[in-house]
């Protein structure tokens, strides 16, 4: 299998986004209708009757477009975040899910939905950060942080926050379990412009920041002492990665729940194509992560007339992938 050229991934998002607007679960509007609507928008030529026009606009603009944007944003965010965490921890086996961040952010978001005074994005961010911090300090020994202990600590922290999420749901939500499944399996079917508005700013800011400092991650990836020796303060640099990476992952969780395994599997796929140099992985993560999640979601929303949480698909794809990585990198386990 030949690996596509990098430029392929920079070109693909736009046509993919446009294509995604043309597909849906129903045949209530056809491609011709959409083209006619676009024609109407651009050259103001009335080519459809008013009712049809409104319908096309409602479906394309109010249903499909926010979902397509959200899928792309979240795909980019989770991939960039996963890639950044892997550089930060110098560990190709970590991700927002594995570090407990996703569970923490989901708990924070659920809390914010219950107590309306708490701002959604901020609360998700704070608990996401808290979860990563907890995982890190639980795993920290005098000898540093080993892969195994970090993954174990992440499992514990995830478990705690998932349990807390369940408590919140039990105390407040009459439909309890269904809602928990929605949080833990992630979904995009509730995508709306308000969700896009709530998450677009933190995600874009975080991604831009992580894109700017992409090369510094190469430096960080070589070790604390080496980083210091070449003139960067590793603690400071790590915070500069940690904060935006947490921000974009928790912003994603706050609007779509935990879309599992994206943050782990996608950065690996990117590195398989580009190699580890973050000057290449970050931009490709943005383009590829967004495109791939969008593709999975297109599949998700067209395969049946009912909704299957997208997290089920990503976890089913990513789970075996993680096992494969674990097997392949048993070196990491031994060495640490």
């Amino acid at each position: 299998m030949s690996i596509p050229n990098r430029t392929f991934f920079y070109i693909i998002p736009l046509p993919l986004i446009i294509m995604s607007l043309f597909i849906g679960p129903s045949d209530v509007i056809t491609s011709q209708d959409i083209l006619a609507w676009m024609q109407n928008k651009i050259i103001q030529a009335p080519s459809l009757n008013q009712d049809k026009l409104e319908m096309v606009e409602a479906i394309v603009f109010n249903v499909r477009l926010p979902r397509v944007i959200l899928a792309f944003l979240i795909g980019s965010a989770l991939t960039v975040s996963g890639n950044s965490f892997q550089a930060l921890f110098r560990n190709p086996l970590v991700s927002p899910d594995i570090l407990g961040l996703s569970a923490g952010a989901a708990f924070g978001a659920a809390l914010a939905l219950v107590f309306h005074i708490l701002p959604l994005q901020l609360t998700a961010f704070v608990f996401g950060l808290l979860a990563v911090g907890l995982s890190y300090f639980l795993a920290l020994t005098r000898k540093g942080v080993s892969t195994v202990s970090l993954i174990l600590a992440g499992i514990i922290v995830s478990g705690i926050f998932t349990a807390l999420l369940t408590v919140v749901q039990f105390l407040t939500d009459p439909f309890k379990l269904q809602t928990i499944v929605h949080w833990t399996m992630g979904n995009l079917h509730n995508a709306s412009w308000s969700k896009v508005k709530s998450s677009v700013l933190p995600i874009l800011l975080g991604i831009i920041w992580l894109f700017i400092i992409r090369w510094r991650m190469n430096v960080i990836a070589l070790g604390d002492e080496e980083t210091r020796a070449v003139g960067l303060n590793p603690e400071q640099e790590k915070i500069m990665i940690l904060l935006p990476a947490t921000l974009i992952a928790s912003a994603s969780v706050a609007v779509a729940g935990v879309i599992g395994m994206v943050g782990l599997a996608f950065p690996h796929m990117v590195r398989m194509m580009t190699g580890p140099d973050n000057r290449k992985t970050q931009p490709v993560s943005i383009a590829f992560g967004g495109s791939f999640l969008l593709l999975v979601d297109d599949f998700c929303r067209t395969i049946t007339s009912f909704e299957i949480p997208i997290g089920i698909f990503t976890t089913l794809i990513g789970g075996p992938f993680f096992v494969y990585l674990l097997k392949k990198s048993r070196m990491v386990f031994r060495e640490s």
């Binding site: 679960p25 129903s26 209530v28 409602a58 249903v63 009459p174 439909f175 379990l177 079917h189 909704e307």
Partner: protein
């Protein structure tokens, strides 16, 4: 941890001895009566020597059936959900014991405290037939379990008949079913005349989310059908599911029926940008059911739901129907004088 397990085992041993002691006299004394045989929704046949005197009922809808049968005195344990939420006032009005919260609640539709159930020494435990683990745990300890699962209106009738046998109120059960069938027929007769192409298309919305609905294999399907409408997703052979907004636009229902929702009212849907193109929203035909107790689809009270949907869907056809009066009559017929209001 270990200590807990140990004390648990000791407790169960004690309980087991208690049970075997308490069961033998019951079995012995039952020789004179005609044995009662009921079949639950798993297809399992249960045989009793006499009507169950100690019933633990962990399903609210089944409990309401027991109250309709007038067998509430035979209930010794109920679902914890009875004490929470909006059904409590109704039960409190019907039963002093519930009002004073003296009936133990050893579980709910989802969770069963096996130990507490055993401690109540029940003749039978009524729970959902899908709670297989709890059922196995209870049956392992020699308890009778009556599993319930409701998918269509016939299941509701069947449940009442079987509960009637179980409680020794078979005659009352027959009366209740007769009455309900008659009421359904009274409404269904009118809608039968509506030609297929004029049938209104209905989207049913659960309270969990705007996009959550029930499809072809559900009591909702029956409800809509009996009211003369067509469930927009009736062709999908599912119970519960989440649909796509776009799909709803494609279905473009004439009427939207909302299950009782604490967080949302029809006005929220009418004012929602996403829904504005749906015919039902344009024509302001979005309706919400009142409290669950009054129209629970898993009880005989679904007749009231049918009546409401029928009137909302065909206001002209049911112009003469006063829903308020229908409700009062129904409650009186089903519960007797127990519910004051």
């Amino acid at each position: 941890m270990n200590k807990k397990i140990k004390s648990g085992i000791i407790f169960f041993l004690i309980m087991a001895t208690n049970l075997s002691l308490s069961y033998s006299p019951v079995l012995a004394s039952g020789k004179n009566d005609v044995p009662i045989t009921v079949t639950d929704f798993r297809g399992k046949t249960l045989t009793f020597s006499k009507p169950a005197q100690r019933i633990v009922c962990l399903i609210e809808s089944a409990l309401s059936g027991i109250y309709m049968l007038g067998a509430e005195k035979q209930v010794v344990g109920i679902s914890a959900n009875i004490y929470q939420g909006n059904v409590y006032p109704y039960y409190a009005a019907m039963d002093q014991r519930i009002k004073n919260k003296t009936v133990p609640a050893p579980g709910n539709w989802d969770f069963v405290n096996i130990e507490s159930v055993i401690a109540l020494k029940p003749d039978v435990v009524i729970i959902w037939s899908k709670q297989t683990e709890s059922i196995a745990a209870l049956e392992e300890r020699g308890l009778h379990v009556f599993g319930v699962f409701i998918e269509k209106k016939e299941d509701v009738y069947r449940e009442i008949i079987e509960l009637g046998k179980l409680t020794g109120k078979s005659q009352r059960a027959q009366e209740l079913v007769e009455y309900t069938k008659k009421e359904i027929e009274r409404f269904n007769k009118r809608v039968k005349a509506i030609p297929e192409e004029k049938r209104q298309r209905i989207y049913y919305m659960w309270a969990q989310g705007n996009l959550e609905t029930s499809c072809g294999r559900s009591t909702v399907q029956d409800l809509i059908h009996l009211a003369g409408g067509k469930n927009v997703c009736g062709l999908i052979d599912n119970e519960h599911m989440v649909v796509n907004m776009e799909q709803i636009m494609a279905w473009n229902p004439d009427v939207i029926v909302m299950w009782y929702n604490e967080k949302k009212n029809p006005s929220d849907i009418i004012n929602d940008e996403h829904w504005k193109l749906i015919r039902a929203v344009k024509e302001r035909r979005v309706h919400e059911f009142p409290e669950i107790f009054l129209c629970d689809l898993w009880t005989l009270k679904f007749t009231y739901a049918v009546k409401m949907v029928a009137k909302w869907t065909y206001p002209e056809l049911f112009r003469d129907i006063d829903l308020e009066r229908e409700k009062k009559t129904m409650l009186r017929m089903l519960y007797g004088k127990k519910t004051g209001n």
